[in-house]
């Protein structure tokens, strides 16, 4: 089992405020890696460093390195290629103001795929993977923004999958959707981990417990500990971790 993402002494500051302090963490390939921790502990910032969307935060300062397959993302010239390699799903569903079909075909088109049959195949495959195909197959021309919240979140997932990413990052994907949709997406993630590395930021400790092979606990911009999920939940090395997973604070 090889390491897919390797954070080395990563420090991120927003102005004078630390978002991440000296984080070193290895995320293995084709597993589900959960990142848990209270609000403002730097979880989302960590994701932004993986696909370098941290670049868009004008006052952010980054030190340290993030290696993906051994390559430092902050030295990559073609950042767009990097972002195509990393799928992102955000807390709030974002249906782009395009048809369902164009939502999923958006990224492939921007990456230069224009063959109709190829696009059709990608759209169908991604929508099936996101378990949305049966609900929208007869109305692919409907605006993505007209779908329900849960459907839009699965549409977002389908979009993230449209470029066959090697890494899929999910940032609290379930806070705006109903429990049934959440369970369905969790099932999808269990399937997907055969194909890609999944980094799951979550506020729901039980979600991490249910899904993740590994779990890292962050608090106050520091990595407290990372280990196999079973270890984190049963024999946490750090008292803070034990209290957090038991629901004592956070």
């Amino acid at each position: 089992m090889s390491i897919q993402i390797d954070f080395r002494n990563l420090t991120v500051k927003y102005g004078h405020k630390f978002a991440l302090q000296d984080v070193s963490l290895e995320i293995p390939e084709k597993r589900i890696f959960a990142i848990i921790g209270p609000a403002n502990s730097g979880k989302t910032t960590l994701l932004k460093c993986i696909n370098r969307t941290i670049d868009f935060v004008s006052h952010a300062k980054v030190q340290g390195r993030v290696l993906i397959d051994g390559e430092d993302v902050f030295r990559i010239r073609n950042v767009y290629e990097l972002r195509r390699k990393v799928g992102m799903v955000f807390p709030l569903p974002v249906g782009l103001p395009l048809s369902v079909y164009e939502n999923v075909a958006y990224a492939p088109r921007r990456a230069g795929i224009h063959d109709r049959h190829e696009l059709d195949a990608i759209v169908e495959k991604c929508l099936r993977q996101a378990m949305l195909w049966d609900e929208v197959k007869d109305r692919l021309q409907l605006l993505g923004t007209r779908l329900s919240g849960g459907q839009q979140q699965r549409l977002t997932l389908a979009r993230a999958l449209s470029l066959r990413p090697e890494i899929l990052c999910l940032d609290e994907f379930s806070i705006a959707i109903d429990p049934v949709t959440t369970m369905r997406i969790e099932d999808i993630l269990r399937e997907l981990k055969n194909e890609m590395t999944i980094v799951l930021v979550t506020n729901l400790v039980q979600q991490a417990h249910r899904l993740a092979d590994y779990t890292a606990f962050f608090s106050a911009s520091r990595l407290i500990e990372a280990n196999r999920t079973e270890t984190i939940f049963n024999q946490a090395a750090h008292r803070l971790t034990a209290r957090y997973v038991a629901g004592d604070f956070g």
Binding site: T53, G95, L96, P97, Y106, A107, R110, R159, A160
Partner: protein, 317 residues
Amino acid sequence: MNKAVDNQALLSSLAVAKSNPFAPTPLEERKRIKEAIAKWLLAIITLMLVLPVIAILGYLVFKAWPILGPSFLLENPQDNMTAGGIWAPLVGTFFLVVISLLIAAPIGVLAGVYLNEYAGDNWATRVVNLAVMNLAGVPSIVHALFGVGAFVLFAGMGRSLLAASCTLAVMTLPVIITSTREALSSVPMSFREACWNMGATRWQTIRTIVLPNSISGILTGVILQVSRAAGETAPILFTGAVFFRDVPEHGWEAFFPYGLHDRVMALSYHLFTLVTQVRGVSDEIQYGTAVVLIGLVLFVNALSIALRSYLRSRKKW
């Protein structure tokens, strides 16, 4: 004794409360009255806004009524402005507006896109923002003097249609930039982030998501500048407007009576001269010119409102 009365009062009040739990208390009554006063006061003041518009329009149309008709629009001024119509100034205004927008709209929209989508929050951007805001606040007569210096003299355009259009363009530019930025910033940031996260470049995001969803606001801002460019007198006063010009009456030349380097007649300046410079102009011609000018402005404004509501109805989120 007293206690018994108290109890009775209490009981009866309870009975009332029981009989109608929704009966208004004195506080509720006062709130209701204040609500009514506020509503009517606001409505009356709003109506008072409309009154001047109706009064001005009504008075102008009433005074100009005898002369209004196709021939007034289509004939050129004759007999030292005391007869004929307003075709030459009408066409002049049309060309001034079109050429100034052809200059200002592309520059303004592109600058607005850069400022809103690309420019970081640094001192250079702030200086540009400040400049744009100040430019918007410059009085139109100062724009006119700038036009004389920059276009008429320095650029060597002379007093001409081109120089006057350029001056109008400078005047409308800051508002076009500002309205473009506002239209762009009404597109939710989450759309852009979603695109960037899929590896789309900024320009791809702008072209595919941001512009299609802000075009209604941008167009509205541009069109509103038409009425402003048509109505202003000062900027063209020294830069290209002419008191009278003998232009062709017939044939295709009647539609293109001015070259870029010719001085032009314009409605706003024409009205100004009719009222202040020429003797013996009938009231009808003066008021008629004013009606056409204000009608033009209202027509363009209505057009922009119609366009905006049409594009909004197709809005996708």
